[in-house]
């Protein structure tokens, strides 16, 4: 028992040393991020970063805001695509939307869309402002020849909070 206790104490001491090493390396490599956290600026830093990342990754994709998406919905011409996982789609989605995730589109989705008019307006959305699934699906659709694809980056949360029309399971 004494040996066990001694071993555990030794292991804990080295564990604390490794933890301190990780702390030192972490502070040294991510000091700017840590400082932003202490200043309470992390959220705005993240917004800036997200904008830069999206510009670099999905610069070609046209985006629409909440009001533009609602106007398109009211006109009734555009197809709304929900890029969230099936379970979330089934819970609640924009009225009339179909569910098409990145994974599904990379699998069977292309055949699924083969008969569809490539000129049709398509609005893709995902959960909220910080998800990229809408942009990813929009990019894949654009690569399949759909020329009028837009990503609604406010996502389902913004739509739902605005009280616009929603549906439960299709």
């Amino acid at each position: 028992m004494t040996l066990l206790r001694r071993l555990l104490a030794q292991d804990l001491a080295w564990g604390i040393f490794i933890l301190a090493l990780a702390l030192g390396l972490g502070l040294q490599s991510h000091w700017a991020l840590v400082r932003s956290g202490f200043k309470g600026e992390l959220a705005s830093r993240l917004d800036e970063w997200r904008e830069q990342y999206r510009q670099a990754e999905f610069g070609e994709i046209k985006t629409v805001n909440l009001e533009q998406a609602y106007a398109l919905h009211r006109q009734g011409q555009a197809l709304f695509i929900d890029a969230r996982p099936r379970s979330e789609f089934q819970e609640l989605h924009i009225a009339g939307a179909i569910n098409l995730t990145t994974e599904a589109l990379q699998g069977y989705g292309v055949q699924h869309l083969s008969g569809m008019d490539r000129q049709r307006q398509i609005v893709v959305y995902c959960g909220q402002q910080n998800c990229d699934a809408s942009l990813e699906v929009a990019e894949l659709l654009q690569a399949q020849g759909f020329s009028q694809v837009m990503a609604f980056t406010g996502g389902f949360r913004a739509w739902d909070e605005a009280g616009y029309p929603v549906d439960i399971a299709p």
């Binding site: 040996l3 066990l4 071993l7 292991d11 804990l12 001491a13 080295w14 564990g15 040393f17 490794i18 933890l19 090493l21 990780a22 702390l23 390396l25 972490g26 502070l27 490599s29 991510h30 000091w31 991020l33 840590v34 400082r35 932003s36 956290g37 202490f38 309470g40 600026e41 992390l42 959220a43 830093r45 993240l46 970063w49 997200r50 990342y53 996982p85 979330e88 910080n130």
Partner: protein, 153 residues
């Protein structure tokens, strides 16, 4: 060992091989998870913030320390340097994460767990089960290491 029967010796050797392989696998998984978090700090920050548990200063510290903790403990475990301490740290990380997953599930938050090694995964029973399996593995490996140093009965 001289007094051991052949069958027992073979079983013991097989157990050593299995433990060695699992130690490498666990270490590699932790290094991989840490590298991803280290090189994508903003994505990791978003994941941590989505849990809505920590104030911003602690989010920043978590994002800075956790990747290095995973990389250093995983790498030392692979190399066999202070493996017991590394296994203790890994267990501590897994226990803390298990508590966070449970709280998040109870709060009903539908978020990405940030724990899927090769694909995105939502917080849920699968993530909890995976965490518990890893915890059991780390605890078993730790116990094997300790047993080796205890005098034979």
């Amino acid at each position: 060992m001289p007094g051991m029967k052949l069958g027992t010796r073979l079983t013991s050797r097989r157990k050593d091989w299995l433990a060695g392989f699992l130690r490498l696998a666990l270490g590699t998984a932790f290094v991989y998870a840490g590298i991803w978090k280290h090189f994508y700090p903003y994505q990791f920050t978003e994941t941590v913030m989505a849990y809505q548990l920590l104030p911003q200063p602690l989010v920043g510290l978590t994002v800075a320390i956790v990747p290095w903790l995973e990389m250093v403990s995983g790498a030392l475990l692979i190399l066999g340097v202070k493996p017991r301490s590394c296994l203790l740290l890994i267990q501590a990380v897994l226990v803390v994460f298990l508590v966070i997953l449970a709280i998040t599930m109870l709060r009903g938050l539908n978020i990405d767990c940030g724990c899927g090694l090769f694909s995105e995964r939502q917080v849920g029973f699968l993530a909890i089960l995976e965490d518990m399996l890893l915890l059991a593995l780390a605890a078993w490996l730790y116990w094997l290491e300790v047993q080796r140093l205890l005098p034979a009965r």
